[in-house]
Structure formats: C-alpha cells, structure tokens
Amino acid sequence: MNGTQLVFLGVGAVILISALLVVTTRNLIHAALWLIVTLFGVAILYALLNAGFLAVVQVVIYIGAIAILFIFAVMLTRKELRDRGPQLNPAWWLSAIVAALTFGGLVWMLQGWSGLTRSAGEIPPGFDAVGALGNALIAPNAFVLPFEVASVLLLAALIGAVYVAFTRK
C-alpha cells in the first residue's frame, strides 16, 4: 500500500461521502457546498491521473462557475431562508433500490472484462499533455469539428438562458 494508493483511497472516500451528503441533506445550501467538496475531490483525482490541465479546468468551470450558479439559484428560489419539511420523495426507498441495482449491474458487467485490473502505463518523459491536447482540439483530422460544435452549443445555451430568465422591468 504505497502513498499514491493511500491518497486515492482518502480522496475516493471524501468523494463518495460528500456525494451522499449532497443527495440526502436537508439544507439546499449545504447540499451545494458538499457538491463543491465532491468537485474538488474529482479535481484531485484528475491530478492523480496526470491530467493536470483537466484538474485546473475542473476547478475553474465547475467550482468557479457552475457551483456558484447553483448557490445563486438556491438563494433566488425560496420564500424564506430555512428549508422545511422532508426533502425526499415518499418512494425514496424504491429509488435507493434502483441505484443499488445500477451499481451492482455496472460492477458485475465490469467483472467480465479482462482488462479490468491493468495498471497504468508509463508516461514517456517529455510528454507534453497540454500541447498534445491543444493539437488534438484543433487538428483537422482530430477533434476540431466537435470543438466548434461545442462552442455553438454554448452560444445557444447562453442566448436561451438569458432569454428565459430575463425580466423586463
């Protein structure tokens, strides 16, 4: 059990526990804050996977924009500052069974795959992950088309969100 494995176990425990708290806590602001802890854990996981650029982008986009958007939306959609009443559906035990079945099904399906316990390959020295990612995003025979389509998608979402939420005073 070396250091990397210990770090992974710790981060994985933090991710799963805070995710559970996100979906079960009563106070919605606390749920959003626990989501931020989960997202931070996922960013550390990306750093463990040698995807440093993705780790920083995760913090910038998810924690710096999406989580703040959630907190703003929670604050703007309540009549009073406290939450009242149960926060789970009456049939929540059914969805718990469905979630457990999903998890069991996924793990069982993974068991039958031969490559499950493979270890990570060595990263060749001098491998520039950020440069390779940049090349892949704009090379014509790589991923430039999904990249441009994603930017059009973001533009459409921007216009749609502004139009839907706009109030004319």
């Binding site: 990397t4 494995q5 992974f8 994985g12 995710a19 996100v22 979906v23 919605l28 959003a32 989501l35 997202l39 996922v42 996981l45 996977l49 040698n50 993705l54 995760q58 998810y62 999406i66 958007l69 959630f70 939306a73 929670v74 703007l76 959609t77 926060q87 789970l88 559906n89 049939a91 059914l94 969805s95 718990a96 469905v98 979630a99 999903t102 998890f103 996924l106 793990v107 993974l110 316990t117 493979r118 270890s119 990570a120 390959g121 990612l133 090349n135 892949a136 790589a142 991923f143 990249f147 994603a150 930017s151 998608l153 973001l154 459409a156 979402a157 749609g160 969100a161 839907v164 939420a165």
Partner: protein, 102 residues
C-alpha cells in the same frame, strides 16, 4: 500502483449516488445537483480510460472537455428555467409543477 478497477468502481458508485439523487429528491434544483454528480462520474471514467489506454490518443481528454461544456450549458439553461418557473408558480417542488397550462 492503482489498478483501473478502482477508478471504474468509484465512478460507478458516484453515478449511482447521482441517480439516487435525481430519482428521490423533491426540489428541482436538488435534481440538477444529482445530474451534476452523474456527469462528473462519466468524466472520471473517460479520463481514467485515457490514462490506462493509449496516452498519445487524446480522445479521452477531448471527450471530457466536451462533457464540461455540455454540463455548463445544461446547468445554465436548467437553472434559468427553474428560476423562471419560480417567478410564475412560486414553487420549485417538482411534484407541484404538474400542469402545462391552466
């Protein structure tokens, strides 16, 4: 070294927890929080397959970036809709939003 199975089981667990959140919460914003957890689980899967496969093939990371963009777009539009609904109906409990027009 960390075997690939650890990452995949972690992301399966995160996905199931997100699924539980989507299916069982009342508040519309809490449902969107569950969707965010599911998207993060998918991203962990994509990046770990990139790392444990052919590192020179950047498809895993590019996919993960596209998922970032899609998640951001979906959250923006979803929360705009929730806020707009709150202004009209004064509630965001998903059970109470059961009529198209009245």
């Amino acid at each position: 070294m960390i075997p690939l199975s650890w990452f995949l089981i972690l992301s399966a667990g995160l996905f199931s927890i997100g699924l539980f959140g989507v299916l069982s919460r009342k508040n519309a914003i809490a449902i969107l929080l569950g969707v965010e957890l599911m998207l993060n689980a998918v991203n962990i899967n994509l990046v770990s397959f990139w790392r444990y496969g052919n590192i020179a093939d950047m498809a895993g990371q590019v996919f993960a970036i596209i998922v970032f963009a899609v998640a951001a777009a979906e959250v923006a539009v979803g929360l705009a809709l929730v806020i707009s609904v709150y202004r009209q109906r004064r509630t965001v409990i998903a059970d109470d939003l059961d009529m198209m027009k009245w």
